[in-house]
């Protein structure tokens, strides 16, 4: 399911898009919570001679199996209904779900255009235990669609960290009016 999202993305990637994504992938890779957990787990496993606290053992155990949900949103997220705000990919989405506005999880509704730029989330998939990088690309050119509206804020940052901010109208360079209609949530890679 997940890798096919990339193949099916019906969008032309501009050079700017690719460059932005590359930068953001590196950024998110460095700051991934799973990466931090893995390093912590590795540290715990590497010092077995020390008298380990119960919490360290738990950490080591979790990395040997599946990573535990890293955030409260992830702990309650579901993987079946992409028209609901608690769908796992929506961990940092703010706005209208395109999947309820005539579009899809990575598709814009007819009459709108996808933004080549986006803000980025790192969301945990409880089904496979992996975290993925999610590009929240806005669909633009019509006013707000207002079917299902969500405000999720995992790792969301103020506008001085624009790549992690969900207040910005990400409709730069769409060739439309830059009027916001809804948001998609495309998988763009595995985090960590």
């Amino acid at each position: 399911m997940l890798p096919s999202d990339n193949k099916n993305m019906n969008m032309d990637k501009t050079l700017f898009d690719q460059a932005t994504e590359a930068v953001l992938r590196r950024f998110a890779g460095r700051s991934s919570r799973r990466g931090i957990l893995a390093r912590l787990g590795g540290l715990a496993a590497a010092v077995p001679l020390f008298p380990l606290l119960p919490v360290s053992r738990a950490s080591a155990a979790s990395t040997s199996a599946k990573v535990k949900a890293p955030t409260p949103f992830a702990a309650k997220a579901q993987t079946k209904d992409e028209t609901a705000c608690d769908y796992w990919r929506y961990c940092a989405i703010d706005g209208n779900l395109c999947s309820t506005c005539g579009g899809g999880i990575h598709s814009c509704p007819p009459g709108t255009a996808p933004s080549p730029t986006s803000w980025i989330g790192s969301c945990y998939n409880p089904q496979d235990g992996n975290s993925y990088m999610i590009a929240y690309r806005d669909c633009c050119g019509q006013d707000s669609c207002n079917e299902v509206t969500c405000l999720n804020t995992d790792a969301e940052q103020p506008a001085y960290r624009p790549m992690a901010n969900n207040d910005i109208i990400w409709c730069f360079g769409t060739g439309t009016s830059e009027m916001y209609n809804c948001s998609t949530a495309a998988v763009i890679g595995k985090a960590a």
């Binding site: 207002n146 001085y160 960290r161 910005i168």
Partner: protein, 380 residues
Amino acid sequence: MVSLGGSALAADPVLQTEQSDVVTLKPYTPHTILVMDSAGTHAKDGRVYVVDADRGALLGMVQAAYNPNVTMVPDASRFYVGETTWAHGNRGARYDLLAEYDARTLKLTSDEELPARALITPKRNSLTLNVGATRAYVYQMSPSNGVEVVDTHAHKVTQSVDLPGCALTYPWGTSGFSSLCADGTLANVSLSEDGKASMTHSAVFFAPDKDAVFENSPSVAKTGEAYFLSYTGNIYPAHLGANATVEAPWSLQVGAGMKPASDASAPFEVTWRPGGIQLIALHQSDHELYVLMHRGTFWTHKEDGTEVWVYDAQTHKRLRRIPLKKTSNMVGVTQDDHPLMFTTDTDGDLFIYDAQTGHLLRTVKKLGTSVTFTIAPGEE
């Protein structure tokens, strides 16, 4: 019955003919406020309302299209609306505008076209004024982060200042502003008359990944004081200026007799935390901070407040705790000796409280669609 009715009608004087006219508002009182309604569900129809908060009455309104902003001069004689329109509604040529209104007639006194303005959920610090209101600072993001400095008398952009890695403006004095930066510093921009700008950076004072500070934090241009509130509930008092300094933080939770809240490294801890959009307000002369609070985990920094906690910014102690009738993502306060406090809900209602007793005085039902923030005279 018929004859009685007939005589009663006959006793009434004949109505006089009338001339149509237009109301001019009285000078604003400390309780005459501007209310920003960004109309999020139909964002090209945003507006700014003028409300008499003592009566809960709408006095007038102006349009404020598409993720707009508004700022008012301290004597409440005029205000500025930053807005964006397109020639054919949702298409055609784009216009980024700075409209100036006479606050009593609501007549447009200038309609300046800007090179750009940032399209972002309305936040007060994307449009600010210097002391004296001779300059307006317009935050923009295209082609890159920067600030357009507008001469409010000549109605012209006189300078554009690049802000690499930083955002928004927290003005100080007549010719400077600070901005919050991605590396956890403040950038401090000094403007000179020759159109040049110089910039310094403060020391790093917060860690954005671990505990970011809210961009909706309050500041006062004439004194340079600012209170940067972090996601966990730490307040960083700052003294803005060409070489801004930031004091060690104090904790809202500790000021209320609790232990400090966890940051992003322990996100599951449930405790009282700050949250909302315009989630903090300052009563300048009383040095009181009004903060929307809710119970939640870390990463719930935009969750509505269920209560407002009022703090003495000098002693760092909680003074009052005001439960809200409806949860709110916005809190505002007037600047007089008998201040009113404002909150909203998802129905666009405006709730008006006595800020000192916490009593709900009146409600303006369905004032708007998405009440985003209020501005009281003397607040900016």
